[in-house]
Symmetry: C2
Subunit: 307 residues, 2 copies
């Protein structure tokens, strides 16, 4: 089965202790799609400006990504500029030029509306709800959000969350959304808002999935997947979206959605995130092999499993 992602296509200007690069292809939909493309069919919906060339689009097409949902608007593509100073876990944003994103009204092409798996990457929750309505037959809906929407559009976000099955957010976002400094308690509160499961990403410490009682299986025991202790993180940009791509892509490729499938998906999410950070931008995601992915899956397993 296939997965459709609605999110941003962007140019990123990134500074890390390992280098500086201007206007690299980026955006949540780009990282998600490239990561998911190793597992299943992927379609992208987003908006770009006149500076987004056929060469840029080819980065996605080379990986077999369906790009007919990419809308072209007058003006420039969304541009983000940020740097990683003290911590490789959090970026400091220097500049956000929304450009064509400002008037983005996502339209799902007719031929893509029956896509079984949907991922609502981090955009305005009003747009997320709008997309969700266009795809009301979706089998599983994943979503992301950020502090900006949690603070500024809490009511709209709450509306979106009612129709999201699995929300993927980081520690700070979970605590803010759940209004609780304890991560497990914050997770419980987020689950009361709608999602059947919430994946909380801990940066270099991995991620935990919390379930609503009985969701996708029995009980509500959480599950924790590691991140790889990497000597060298060159550029963390896109790690979270790559996680989401590996996570949703793996699930979409399975015959059923059981709790065991979701646990394995947590590992594949971590695996794809770990590849992304090895190079600047989405470079590493362009040239992986399924063999490399499965090898790293085994490394993640060895890192956490007793005999």
């Amino acid at each position: 089965m296939s997965v459709l992602v609605v999110g941003t296509l962007a140019f990123d200007t990134i500074k890390t202790p390992h280098g500086y690069q201007e206007r690299v292809l980026g955006g949540s939909a780009t990282y998600f799609a490239l990561a998911a493309s190793y597992f299943t069919e992927v379609a992208v919906v987003g908006v770009v400006g006149e500076d987004f060339s056929a060469q840029h689009e080819n980065v996605l097409r080379e990986r077999g990504v369906d790009t007919r949902g990419i809308m072209r608007a007058a003006g420039k593509t969304f541009h983000w500029s940020g740097e990683y100073v003290d911590s490789m876990n959090e970026a400091k944003t220097n500049l956000t030029e929304l450009n064509v994103l400002e008037d983005f009204q996502p339209q799902i092409p007719e031929g893509l509306r029956a896509t079984e798996f949907l991922f609502l990457a981090n955009i305005d929750p009003v747009l997320q709800s709008n997309v969700r309505r266009q795809m009301n037959g979706a089998k599983l809906v994943g979503g992301d959000t950020m502090n900006f929407w949690i603070a500024g559009k809490r009511a709209e976000l709450a509306e979106t969350l009612k129709a999201v099955d699995v929300l993927l957010i980081n520690d700070g976002e979970a605590k803010m959304l759940g209004a609780d400094a304890s991560l497990p308690r914050a997770a419980s509160k987020v689950l009361e808002m709608g999602p059947r499961a919430v994946v909380i990403k801990h940066g270099e410490y991995g991620a935990t999935i919390f379930f609503r009682d009985g969701a996708f299986g029995v009980g509500k025991h959480p599950f924790r997947a590691p991140a790889l202790p990497l000597d060298e993180v060159r550029d963390p940009t896109g790690a979270g979206d790559s996680f989401a791509g590996g996570f949703m892509g793996y699930i979409a490729a399975q015959g059923e959605i059981t709790r065991e499938v979701l646990k394995r998906a947590m590992f594949y999410g971590g695996v794809m995130g770990s590849f992304t950070v090895e190079r600047f931008g989405p470079e590493r995601l362009r040239e992986l092999t399924r063999q490399e992915i499965d090898e790293r899956f085994r490394t993640f397993r060895d890192l956490t499993h007793l005999e």
Copy 2:
């Protein structure tokens, strides 16, 4: 086989969001010994003052801990006062009254010098080296330290580390000791200083053990154990020492020291830490059963293991 711990016996005044308690029995040796006592024979070496009553000592003796290494000095017992404000991961120290600890010169009683397993809890590295020399037949030596010694007695600590097999420290201490902001790189640098393995504790995110190439087995693949996502952490005091007690106690109870034993010990360390934080002071460690411990071990396993 049995384990001997040299560390502090203390009275702790603790404030957390869940309450306030004055002069609770505490100290690294206390938490370590109680946690280890569920796995193996334990002996304690430390110093107390005149205010340390038979009742206090009985907390250890009730768990079968050998207390003949507890020295009594004129004056008061070491007193620490601290609180957990924003984070349950790190205490803010309000008061440290060293008292009898100031002139502490640990002497290992003759009858305990042949103890096979030794844990050097967090005390002055000069004293740690001194103890290590008195027990030069030890089969495995674990150790702990803190920022205060890393900054103030780096040379003496380096000397101590040459004769420590497994060092247990937290993220901040590892980065400071290894002088590197990357945890895996910091771990490598710590391993170059002597230890064959280093356990880095990540608070609520668990802990990772890094090995020197070939130490206790083949290769140098790290291993990560989780912490339990607990809704309610009442008092984190002693969690790290309880981890060390579960870790060393489990190892001492096995026939051999393989890498698989060390991995399981990481889980038991996390298990004992998770019990400690459920109540104030060492209360929870006084009344556990081996059955409760093994049940929680299974919970830790379910939390991390794929089918």
